[in-house]
Structures are given as structure tokens and as C-alpha cells.
């Protein structure tokens, strides 16, 4: 729903930012009343891109489609159209909002992350050894991916033993017993058996029988999906506490002989866990609440990464690393821009960026391209490898470790973003 408090200056900023995104680079913003189509400044497709960019920034789908008139083609016409629609919408919704606010005692913003924890495979394997195992030239993985070491589980360990450690840390930090959990929401891109990952974690923690379990997919995006879903579940007044967890043990699946070095050599083993809790009373607040959530799926890149187990136990892999890398950098950058607009803060004001890191080189490119302050990006892949869904989970734990004790008034939000095969993307802002 659009923010009814948008003022003309903010609307102008959104319009101009959206226009800048579609204009060819180094093109100046047009005059106030210049008709972009007539002057040839933007073409028909770029015009649609602009309109949808404004709708997205204002969180107002179909804003221009519902207007009934021809879509605006100048800065002034766009600002006027938004203001007209805003006045109309506020009028229409006043009553609805009043009734909604009085009937809903609890909302998701009353809940936040109360505890967190991560666990890494205890064996630290140098990238030189990984290169030797996969039979690739010395220094090639390190040079191409920028990874110095990966983390692996020991014999006898698996996803559940890793995630149990992470979950116990999160519960302890949050001061919450497993018996208080209403839900366990889990994700793993490597745990394939039944009972499912979340059900197995439920057993490992001896969670109560009335604690429900949900398994969420999405590959590397899975953890953010889990956090978004948990936040929505907490709008139910009967739900007070949810454990979100991820664990990925790639070392048992992506082995030499099954997958090529340029893919298999990137991955490590790790887990993360977060306790989301509702505030104990109306006056209290829980820090690190989810304030904005964005995401989507672009099937255009669905063939860039295909991975499936074959019936003979081998792995069918189609991997267009270049296309995937390019798309990942673009979509992660855009996700941060979307979050920036949604929560109304600049990237400079963000306290930390917990992001998926397919490999370290890609993280470096993203930091450079999106102009992220490097010191605010906890690095995971460089020393642990790509941990799948757990990469941004471990990065988020590192970010919370460093700013978790800072009073809310003295810090900015944390942005979390990831991309996964499909191509899926998701981002959340924690405040």
C-alpha cells in the first residue's frame, strides 16, 4: 500500500530517480514539461520501464493503469498524476484503514529477531587442497573465485547436527526455550530425505508437539523466504515465537567426479538460525523487525543453472557461470535500490549488508558496482565458500554480532539480499 504521507518533494525524487534508471547513461534529466516520447528521449519500452519503476518505488501496483488516462510522458505530468491518485486513494481508504487499525491488535511490526546463531563445518580446507581434489590447475579457483578456504563438516556430522548448534545458540541468545516455539521454518538446498529438514530439527530440539514445521525452498534465497514467511505468520495473534533455520552440507553432494571444479569447488558447509519473537507487551519493542520485503522470480534466467540428481546417483548440471554472475550482480544491486526506496534511507545510512555470496569475486564486483561501503559487508564466501541458503544467514549473524548491542536510535537498518536458481531474488530490511 502506498504511503499516504508522500509529499511533493518525495514524489519528485521518486520520479526523477526512476527516470534516471531508464535514461541512457550520461543523459541529463529532461525539462519539467518535456514530452519524452515526442522528443525521442525515451522509447516506448523505456517509458513502460519508467512507469513501472515509479509504481514499484511507491509500492503501488497498477497506479498508472488504473488512472484511466494515457500514461504521463513528462516529469510534471507524472508528479501530477501521482498526486491526483494519492488524494483519491486516501479518500477511499480512510474508512477502511480506521476499521482495520481498530480490529487488528497485533501486526508483524511488533515482532523482530530476538536471537541468532550460526555454525560452520569445523574443518577448514585450504583452496589449494580443494583444487587438488577437483584436479584443477593450482591457483585457478583462488584466482577466479577469490576463495581462500572452504568449511566442511567432519565425518558423522550432517545438516541437522550443524543446524542444531546454530539453533541452540539462537535460542540461548534470545532467552527462549525450544518449548516456547510455535513454528520451525527451515530451508536446506542439500537435505533431500524425509522426515524433512524442519521436522528433523524439530526432533533434534525436542520442540513441543504443537510446534508446527514448514520446509521452504528457493535454494540460496530460502533463508530470506523463511524470514519473510515467519514475519507474516507472526501477524496471527496466537503465534508468538518462531525459529527460522538453514543448513547446507554441500561436501557430500558436490564432489569431484560428479561436478566440475568451477562449480563444486566453490561450496562449503554451514548453518544459521534466528528466533523471531513478538514483543511481550504493546509498549515494548523487539529490535531487528522486518520493515520491508521485496523479491520476485525471473524465468528468463532459469536455464543459467540447472542441477538435478540423476537416477544413477550422478548429478546433471548445466551452469552458465557468466550469465548467472551478470544477472546476480544486477539483481542484487537493484534489490538494494528497492529496499532503499521502501524504507526511505540511503545506502550510506545502512548499518550492514548481509548478502548472498556465490563467490568472493562476485561480492567484490557487487560492492564496487552498487557502491556499498565494503566495511559494512560481512564476508563469508572468501573464508568459508558458498554456503547456499546459509550464506546470507551466516552473514546476517556476523552483522548482528557486530551491531546487535548498538541502541536502535544509533544505528541504521540491515539489508539482507540473495539470489537463487530460477532466477529468484529476495531482500528484506531489518530495523
Amino acid at each position: 500500500m502506498p504511503n499516504p504521507d508522500w509529499n511533493p518533494f518525495e514524489i519528485r525524487e521518486v520520479v526523477e530517480n526512476s527516470l534516471r534508471q531508464v535514461l541512457p547513461s550520461s543523459t541529463q534529466l529532461p525539462r519539467e514539461d518535456e514530452d519524452w516520447i515526442e522528443s525521442g528521449l525515451v522509447d516506448s519500452m523505456a517509458h513502460v520501464e519508467f512507469l513501472l519503476s515509479v509504481e514499484r518505488a511507491l509500492n503501488w501496483p497498477n497506479l498508472f493503469g488504473k488512472a484511466g488516462a494515457a500514461p504521463p510522458q513528462s516529469v510534471r505530468a507524472t508528479i501530477d498524476a501521482v498526486q491526483r491518485a494519492l488524494v483519491q486513494r486516501i479518500g477511499n481508504q480512510t474508512d477502511a484503514l480506521k476499521s482495520r487499525s481498530s480490529s487488528s491488535e497485533a501486526s508483524a511490526v511488533d515482532a523482530g529477531i530476538a536471537g541468532w546463531g550460526s555454525a560452520l563445518g569445523p574443518e577448514k580446507i585450504s583452496i589449494g587442497r580443494v583444487e587438488a581434489e577437483f584436479g584443477c590447475s593450482v591457483g585457478k579457483l583462488k584466482e577466479r573465485a577469490g576463495i581462500e578456504a572452504i568449511r566442511r563438516v567432519s565425518a558423522g556430522e550432517d545438516e541437522i547436527s550443524l543446524v542444531r548448534l546454530a539453533a541452540q545458540t539462537a535460542l540461548k541468545r534470545g532467552g527462549i526455550s525450544a518449548s516456547a516455539l510455535d513454528y520451525i521454518v527451515g530451508t536446506s538446498e542439500t537435505f533431500l530425505g524425509l522426515p524433512s529438514f524442519a521436522a528433523s530439527l524439530h526432533s533434534a530440539l525436542l520442540a513441543p508437539v504443537n510446534c508446527r514445521v514448514l520446509d521452504i525452498g528457493g535454494g540460496c534465497v530460502g533463508l530470506i523466504h523463511c524470514l519473510s514467511l515467519a514475519n507474516s505468520l507472526l501477524t496471527d495473534p496466537s503465534v508468538n515465537c518462531i525459529l527460522v533455520a538453514s543448513a547446507d552440507v554441500h561436501s557430500r553432494i558436490l564432489t569431484p567426479g560428479k561436478v566440475p571444479w568451477e562449480f563444486g569447488g566453490l561450496f562449503g558447509d554451514g548453518a544459521s538460525a534466528f528466533v523471531l519473537r513478538r514483543a511481550k507487551n504493546k509498549e515494548a519493542s523487539v529490535p531487528f523487525a522486518i520493515r520491508a520485503s521485496v523479491g520476485g522470480c525471473a524465468g528468463t534466467f532459469s536455464s543459467a543453472l540447472h542441477i538435478r540428481p540423476r537416477s544413477d546417483g550422478s548429478i546433471a548440471l548445466e551452469f552458465d557461470g557468466e550469465a548467472l554472475a551478470h544477472a546476480a550482480v544486477e539483481v542484487l544491486g537493484q534489490t538494494f535500490s528497492d529496499l532503499e526506496m521502501r524504507v526511505g534511507v540511503s545506502l550510506e545510512a545502512v548499518s550492514a549488508f548481509a548478502l548472498h555470496q556465490p563467490n568472493h569475486r562476485l561480492t567484490e564486483i557487487l560492492i564496487r558496482r552498487a557502491k556499498l561501503p565494503a566495511e559494512k559487508v560481512p564476508l563469508v564466501a572468501k573464508s568459508c565458500g558458498n554456503l547456499g541458503a546459509s550464506t546470507c544467514g551466516v552473514a546476517l549473524c556476523n552483522a548482528l554480532d557486530s551491531i546487535g548491542q548498538t541502541p536502535q536510535s544509533e544505528r541504521g537498518p540491515i539489508f539482507v539480499a540473495s539470489v537463487g536458481p530460477g532466477m529468484l531474488w529476495s531482500g528484506i530490511a531489518l530495523r
Binding site: Q21, V42, E49, G299, T300, F301, S303, E330, Q334
Partner: protein, 238 residues
Amino acid sequence: MTELLISDITRMQPGYCVIGIEPTATGFRSVRPIPPSSHRWFRFPFRRADKLSFDSIDTPRTQPHYEDQVGANHRKVSSVTERELIQCLKKAEVGRTLKELFGCSPRLSWAGSQAAYVIPDEAKRSICGCTLTSIRLSFEFYPPKVRVALGLESGETLANLPLVDRDWNDFIDETARKARNNSDPNFKIGDYFGHFIEERVASSPYRFARIGLARPYGGRKCWLMLDSLFPLPRLDYQ
């Protein structure tokens, strides 16, 4: 003299862009006839599936619109059926995956709607056919813009293609005009075409699309467009 079977006529405000196919030793290849002074036709008195002959004029090649062919003295020789046209198109440039369409990976504009484009220097051609598995029309900015989401056999999707096919646009405009004249308060063009497309196009054994590239925007983006959608709309659909 060049002989050409007209396969695509697209709206290009103002005017039209035209593409045809000419026989080769192994099948067909696409040729984009253009008048001597412009990339577009302001009047094109022929129809899709017409066979034309014309006098070719030396044409400078520009990447990725290698199919451009300046010509003069265009005249109709004969015509074929829609079914025959589709059979010929399947022997011209065809891609199963997005990468095969133009010989490079398309990129997405993340600014708004995930519109797809290619970098002009990377594309090897500017028109290609493909078999579609699913289709959805969007009328958010209609009139005049109709957009299409398309699923390919490879499982890949194009979420936001502008529909520039002249026959389909004329058909949509005519349908909307009739509904306005009948003052049907319950008529919603999106609902009507959603149902219509699902039944008539996605289930048709002749479903086939031709995707083209627009001229470079800002010198760095060639947007993908849905130049032709088969089966073509028929008047008895209305």
C-alpha cells in the same frame, strides 16, 4: 531482383516495420525490406503471407540488424496460407533457448518490469522464431501498449515483451472498439483476452512466435519485442 515471403508486419509508431523470409539452400533466412530513406514504412500496402519481389539496393550492414535490405519497386507476386507461412518460418532462424534466439544471453532491465534486452554488439541477428508453451497478455498500459509474457520450450520465460504484431494489435483495438460501442459495462479487455489467448493460442498446434530486436535505445539496449504471434487472430474469434 529479390523474392520475399512477408512474415512479420509490426507497428512502429509512426509506421510499420516489415520482415520477410527468402529461400536458401537449406531453408529460409529473414530479410527486412526497408525503404531507401527510413527504417520504417509509413504505408505498406501488402499483407502477411504475401510473396513480393523487389529490386535490391546495396545496404550498409549494422549490428545486429544484419537483415536490413533496402529495396524499391515492391510488387506482389502471389500469397500463401498462414499454415504454409508457419511451416516456412520453422525452417528459418529458430531458437529453443533464449541464448539461441540472438546468439547471446538477454539481460533484464531491473528498473521496472524485467523487460529483456540484448547488447547490440553481442547479438548476431535481430529476428528469430521459437515455439511457445504459454502466453499471457497484459493490458495495464492499454491503449496503446499491450505487453506479453511468454514461456519457451526451454522453460525460460520473457516476462514483458511489447506486442508489436500489427494483426494482433488491430484485432485487439477492434475488439475494444466494439465493446465500447456496445457499452458493455462488464467487459474487461484483460479478462476477455486472458481467456481467449489461453483457449485459442496456447492450445493451438500452430503456436509459434517471432521475436525481434528494436533499434538500439541509447546505443546500448536492443529491446526484445513480440513481432509475430501465431496463430493469427481471426475475425470470427470476436
